[in-house]
Amino acid sequence: MNPSVDALRATFGSAIGRALESCGDTIVYVRRDALLQVLAWLRDTPDQRYDYLVDITAVEYRDRERPLEVVYSVRSLERRVDLRVKVELDAEADLVVDSVVPLWRGADWLERETFDMFGITFRGHPDLRRILMWETYAEGYPLRKDFPLRGRFSRAEQVRQALAANPEAHYSMEELSIAEAYGELSPEMKERLRRGERGKLAGSE
């Protein structure tokens, strides 16, 4: 097992949960509120130097009793060592975890994707929006186990919504705030933006 686990236990004590080995990879569970300190410590401590974030993802098990897991794979590029850090989230309670974008800029899109696919909120993320699905996607979170393989809406409903969406739904509010672009919008669009109805469907209400 990776010796970093013992070093983590010595430093953080009860914030470090169980550790196990699977197929030669070391996995260590960390309490949710200690995640950011643990990862910062792993990155900055001279004899750890896990300076490279490999991946962020989440796992939901078919067994409903098991909690959701957010998985962080970190690597020390100098020492050529990998470590997998996991945080457990109770699906019934709030799915919130601290964002690690302050530590690694590369976490930006990875966290957005995890939010998009699992509905996990990353507290402190600078721009937490859907990334693979469109912003007005209303069917839920595709990689959750309660999400059916073919989606929640029928094909006809999906087509109806795609055709009925307002054109400005393709731009984020931030993009539309760029002065010249706003000037070119039609009065009807400006009115919808003023009422905060960006991206609403024409037929709904």
Binding site: E60, S73, L149
Partner: protein
């Protein structure tokens, strides 16, 4: 030969009067100019323009959409929109047996399908604790390096078109065509190869394949030399790429870049050397590392990687051992069709594998391989059934693309095209 004669007659920049190439030292152009100084040009009205680039734009290499805020011709902000090609492969994988997932991997990074097949098979084998045969190991190395060459050839061709050089595109696509012919010989498919199986390969290589590959490795460096001649010291190419979109080593690590993007910034990390798989540590090849992390260095790194891949292919051909391709395990490997139809026992194994699938033990495995685009990770979580609980692809070009705003902001709009090309994205993988 005719190409060279014409080139000298026209006195290509980069060739002196005697016809010898003049060397342009690296770092000749001004590098790393600060974005802010460009953005705040005095005397111009500060009205910014919003430009929508893509998703249907040839320079975005697929269906990438960039919303660009421009001040004159200077890029102030880039907001990439991805997901137009999202196919839900990871979700689909949770409903498929391990071997049924392999065709999905073809369609992620469709410019190097064989390498994706290998990456997934390695992860599934790590999860199940399977040791593959020596012949299979070398065949997979051949598959990976062939993929690297075609992927880099497509990158080189399309990038040179983006920057305005049309000719290399024709030469590189010709080389890609030759590899495609070899892939077709081996798998029957040019693009969607599905060449691996958990525990082996779909098929052994056919007669004539090794001869064809040997001919390729002998003649391929000539094309590389030709491309080298028209691009590497070409003043237009150098001017368009040097100092454009630079990232320091620390920035590249902080943005989780991998593959040629990481190495061009001077970080000598190559999964093949530093976390070897398929016996790569026993091959003699060099890890190519850049210095400045700009578009020009990324070009040099990918270009030299083609030569190194060619070296690996030559060595793999020489050492290819005889013996079986698949592991000897009837619960894992499908029996030949003739045996399945004539032999009771083989028929039972066939039925069990097709109907129930191969069960993996409880656990999880991550395998990262050095794909042409960067580190392709396959992360599999199993609960003991024949279908994974979670199949996660660590998509190298998705993560590399996320650094695009950082690289492009402050540059000219035309440089944005060059920078975007230098990331080497493939939207099938970005959106999955």
């Amino acid at each position: 030969m005719t190409k060279r004669t014409i080139e000298l007659d026209l006195a290509t920049p980069g060739v002196d009067a005697q016809g010898h190439p003049t060397r342009v030292p690296l770092g000749v152009a001004e590098r790393g100019s600060t974005p802010e100084s460009l953005a705040e040009e005095p005397g111009l009205a500060s009205e910014h323009m919003l430009l929508n680039l893509g998703p249907q734009h040839p320079a975005t290499h697929g269906v990438l959409r960039l919303v660009v805020e421009l001040d004159g011709e200077t890029v102030v902000r880039v907001i990439p929109h991805v997901g137009y090609l999202h196919s839900g492969f990871e979700k689909l994988g949770e409903y498929r047996h391990y071997n049924q997932i392999i065709p999905l991997t073809d369609r992620t990074d469709y410019l190097s399908p064989m390498a994706n097949n290998v990456g997934f098979a390695l992860a599934a084998e790590k999860l199940m604790g399977i040791e593959i045969t020596p012949r299979c190991t070398v065949l997979r190395v051949i598959a990976c390096e062939m993929s690297r060459i075609i992927s880099h050839m497509v990158w080189l061709g399309t990038t040179s078109i983006d920057i305005g050089a049309f000719t290399p595109f024709l030469w590189t696509f010709q080389e890609r065509e030759r590899i495609y012919n070899l892939q077709e010989l081996w798998t029957g498919a040019r693009l969607t190869t599905s060449v691996t199986r958990v525990g082996g390969m779909m098929a052994d290589i056919p007669d004539g394949f090794i001869e064809g590959l040997r001919h390729f490795t002998r003649t391929f460096p000539k094309t590389l030399d030709e491309v080298d001649r028209v691009l590497t010291r070409n003043s237009v190419w150098v001017g368009r790429t040097q100092g454009v979109g630079p990232l320091t080593a620390a920035e590249a690590i902080n943005h989780s870049l991998s593959g040629p993007m990481l190495r061009a910034s001077g970080v000598p990390y190559d999964v093949r050397k530093d976390n070897p798989y398929l016996g790569y540590e026993t091959y003699d090849f060099d890890v190519v590392v850049g210095e400045h992390g700009d578009v020009y260095d990324r070009y040099l790194v990918r270009f030299e990687e083609c030569r190194q891949s060619n070296r690996i292919l030559e060595q793999a051909i020489e050492r290819l051992p005889d013996g079986p391709v698949n592991v000897d395990n009837p619960r894992l490997i499908l029996p030949p069709k003739s045996r399945a139809m004539n032999d009771m026992e083989a028929m039972i194994y066939h039925f069990k594998q097709v109907m129930e699938g191969v069960k993996a033990p409880v656990g999880e495995a991550y395998v990262g391989i050095e794909n042409p685009k960067g580190e392709l990770g396959n992360y599999l979580v199993s609960d003991g059934t024949a279908k994974p609980v979670r199949w996660r692809i660590r998509p190298p070009s998705f993560i590399n693309l996320s650094a695009l705003p950082k690289m492009a902001e402050g540059h000219l709009l035309s440089d944005l095209i060059a920078i975007n090309a230098s990331v080497d994205i493939v939207m099938g993988e970005v959106d999955r």
